[in-house]
Each structure stands twice: as structure tokens, then as C-alpha cells.
Assembly symmetry: C2
Homo-oligomer: 316 residues x 2
Amino acid sequence: MITLSDVRDAAERLRGVAHRTPVLRSRTLDALVGAEVFIKCENFQRVGAFKFRGAYNACSRLSREQLDRGIAAYSSGNHAQAVALAARELGSSAVILMPEDTPASKVAAAEGYGAEVRTYDRYTGDRVALGAALAAERGVTLIPPYEHPHVMAGQGTAALELIEEVGELDALVVPVGGGGLMAGSATAAKALQPTIRMVGVEPEDGDDTRRSLAAGERVSVPVPRTIADGQAAAIPGELTFAVNRRLVDEIALVNDHHIRDAMGFAFERMRIVVEPSGATGIAALLAGRTRITGRVGVIVSGGNIDTARFNEVLSR
Amino acid sequence: MITLSDVRDAAERLRGVAHRTPVLRSRTLDALVGAEVFIKCENFQRVGAFKFRGAYNACSRLSREQLDRGIAAYSSGNHAQAVALAARELGSSAVILMPEDTPASKVAAAEGYGAEVRTYDRYTGDRVALGAALAAERGVTLIPPYEHPHVMAGQGTAALELIEEVGELDALVVPVGGGGLMAGSATAAKALQPTIRMVGVEPEDGDDTRRSLAAGERVSVPVPRTIADGQAAAIPGELTFAVNRRLVDEIALVNDHHIRDAMGFAFERMRIVVEPSGATGIAALLAGRTRITGRVGVIVSGGNIDTARFNEVLSR
């Protein structure tokens, strides 16, 4: 279990390294959803997603000797960039395991931060086992994307900043993939404001956390087909679920149409670029998938999408 | 002539009405241009552009009787929305004169703020004369887009906020159309920091202010063909030029390719949506059209572009 004090420690470590991201308001959004909405823009975080918070917090706890040996991670998404950058910032090195079919731009981004990229076949390889083997072979430390207390605590710093900046909230809406962002956010938010309502958002097709909360234990779903690639988890993490089962009040579900509409709304009415997974909180509000009123925080988790892919997603 | 004190008065009136827009940093941009760049995001301002600042400041000076009679403006762009919203906020009414071929979305936006929209033929009509006639006929007050001391002073509040927030700057880069944003920005910035370098940016094809500064008097150019529709002025304003001839140190020129590249950079690396005119400051830096070093402020003036037009502009 992690505590508010772990999140505060992470915030100390991140000071001057991570961005303190802005909180945006939109009167149009407020009018449409009938609430006062505060958007925490983690799309403006370094590497374009909240993932840098957890990755840096975890990496910064390693000893100088561990840093000198290096860091490993498996990810096709924002955690790859996050660990690559964290390693560079800490004078370490990173080796990242990515699926063979990862877009060249994402490989280039990790390499741009100085990481070595290794690939595997996503259909035959088990990334967790391959990651562990790679770390053992190289003698480096593996930083998983969410199953790690320091990663979860780091992710919670966005919610901490939001509440520090805007004060009391009635609800906080957080995208849920593996559950690390939610675990950290809920830990911070519920400790500061026990009555706050924690609303997770999952893709309709990937509602493993919703089902798991209903069942009282971790339940898996078939690998989800969704444009929200950052939320394509098929089963909650063990550590994240141990936190989330205690602290999450509700899971709202959104489909690809809701997400596209939210991305278009964010672009045209808020002038921000949001990737599909990052837009699910706004999508849940706009589509009325959660009944919230009063003062509501929403974490926009990331904005890593290029103009070609953005156009492709919106024109479907 | 306007002074810093006029800009400060405007800031008082705008408190709680206009957004205090965030300042974003991009380490990628800093590395590319070799400077510390501070981006003042007026694309996050109400109505999506800095224009709200000047329009509201000017409208808020009207007497209750004038407000009850109403406000008029001519604009095909962001000033239309700005006056429409300012009128609504002040319990007044607005009639906006727009060219017949204004995109339906812009007409709808002004009407959405409660304004009445009247159209004219841009090829045969003179908007200044038509605006004056409309105002006289209705007995309403005309608020011009830049030729007005309260409009200029209002626009200067963005630069004031930027300098208050980040401290001393070596240069401030500002898009120049009619010159109102520059006049207000330069008035505030030079009063606070006399050694600051004021760099205006114009489209190559619409370099009327650059030519006018060189000539020492207002010079007109043929109506410019540029994607930067907010900067398609053919001659500087009289009032704005009287300020800018004293305070502007340099005009940098950018073409449509530079602007497109800057819009793509802003989208993919900063995750912000910027309209063509709003991107000219970033364009000037990325294209090396101005030699700046040290701490540099850039005003991103607006973000009003829909996803279809954005895609069209970027795919040319």
C-alpha cells in the first residue's frame, strides 16, 4: 500500500524536473456537463504524458551503482519515453523492449532520449517474462509501467498538484489502464478529501477494472479493441487493484465514438491536443457516462499523437 | 499614446473575466532555437484569442446608457467573437458586420454569444465605412479591432502577465496584423524593461509594418495572400503605428511553409492547437528568421481553427 506521504515524497523528487502542468477551464464544457470542471493537463507533461512522473520517481530511488548498471522497461507507449528520459536525467542508461510493430516514430522518440530499443514479437512473446530476462541478462533494474509502489506514488503527484491548486473537489475523473494513475491519484485525493468521489474511466471493450471491482477480485477480459491504446489492459495490476478496490467509487465506460468526440472537442474548444486514452475523462463527462455535479477534476493523461494519426482517428 | 498605466488599468478590469493564460515551456523548442523560450498561450484565452482582452477593456469603459444602446464591430475573425462575448458579459448587445463569405462556423460562434450578424460583400464594400454607417443608424458604439487606445491597452495585458510571471526577458516576439497586440505589448514591456527587444512577426507577403518602419511612415502593400488570415492587414493602423514606430526593434518575416511547420511543431511537440496567425512567433524562431538568444517570450495569439481546416492547412 502507498500513502499520501509517498506521493508527497515523489512530488519533492519531481520538483524542478517534471512540469507542474497547468489546469485549464472551459466554460463551454462546464455548460455542457452542468459542473465546474478543472482539467489537469498531463498532455503538457515532459514526454507528453503523466508517465514521466512515476518513471522518474522510481528511477530516482535507485542507488548510484544501480543507475550505473542501467534501467530496463517494456512498453510500446508513453512509459518507454518516460523511462528513457528519466534514465538520461539521472545519468543512467535505458534499454526498452518494444513490440516489433511499434511505429517508427515511437522507437525514434525513445532513441532520441538516448535509450537502446530491443524488439519482440507481440503475438508470441510475453513482455513481462522477456523484460525480466533482459534485465537479468544485463544486470539492470526493470521499472514496470504500473506494478511498483514508486511508480504509483509518482503518478499520484498530478492529482496532488491539482487539489493544491484548485482546492476541494467533489469528484476526480481519471483514465484507468493498468491502474497506476488511478492508484496514485486516489491515494492522494482520498487522503486529502475523504468524501471525494473517485471516478475511473475505461473503454467499454476493456472494462477489466469495472468487472474486477464488481467481482471483488481481479478479472481478465479479452484483449480490448479500442483506439485508447494506453488503456488496452486486459486485467488490473495486482498492486494497483489492491489500492483501487478500496478507493475507487465508480467506473464509467466510453466507446470509440465518445473518445473521438472528446478529442475533437478538446481540439476545437479547448485548443489542446489529447491522445485517445487521454481524452476518456472528457469523453465520460460529455457523453453523460457519469453523473457528476459540483466541482470536478479531470486528468487528461497524455497528448502523444501525430497530426496524421489524429486526422485518421477523427475522420473514421 | 497609451502608457503602462493604461495597460495596468485594463488588467484590473479583466481580472476574473479574462483567463490568466498559462505560460508553457518546451525543452525541444529551447534546444532547437538555442534560447529559453516562454510561450504565452493566448489560444487558451476566452474566445480562443487575445482579442477578448482589448474588446472587453474597451466595452467595459462604455457608460450604462451606451451599453444599453449596444455595440457594433466589423470583423471576419476573432474580434467578432470577442466583441460579441464582451457585450454579453456586460449586459449589452452586439451587432457584427461580417463578409458574406465568412465560414458558417464563425457566424454561428458570434450568434452563439448572442450577437446579431449582418453581412456585406467584401469585394465591393468598405468595412470601416459600413461599420460607421451601421453604428450611426443604430445609435450604437463601434469598437474597432485595433485603432482604439482601450483596445491596444487591453491587448497589452498578455505581455504584462507574461513578464510578471517569468521575470526579465531579453526579447518578446509578437505577431503583427493591424498592430494592436504589438502596440499594447511593447508599451507594457518597454516600460517594465527598457532594454527588452521587441520583435514583430509578419507574413512575407504582408510586410506593411516592416516597410512602414523602414520608411518612417505608414506604407501600404497589396492585400496579402497568406494562410495567416489574422495578419492580412495591408497597412498599419494610425494609432498602432504611432506606438510601434517608437517601440518595435525588428520585424521578422515568415512564409506559409514556416507557419505550417510551426503549427505542426506546436501540435506534436507542445500539444497545443494554434491557428496560422497564432503560430508566426514560433515560426520565426524555428525558421531562424530572428536572431534571438537568452530569455525570449513569444505570444501565441490564437487557436481558432477547426480540425478539418487544420488538416487542410497541414496537408498542403
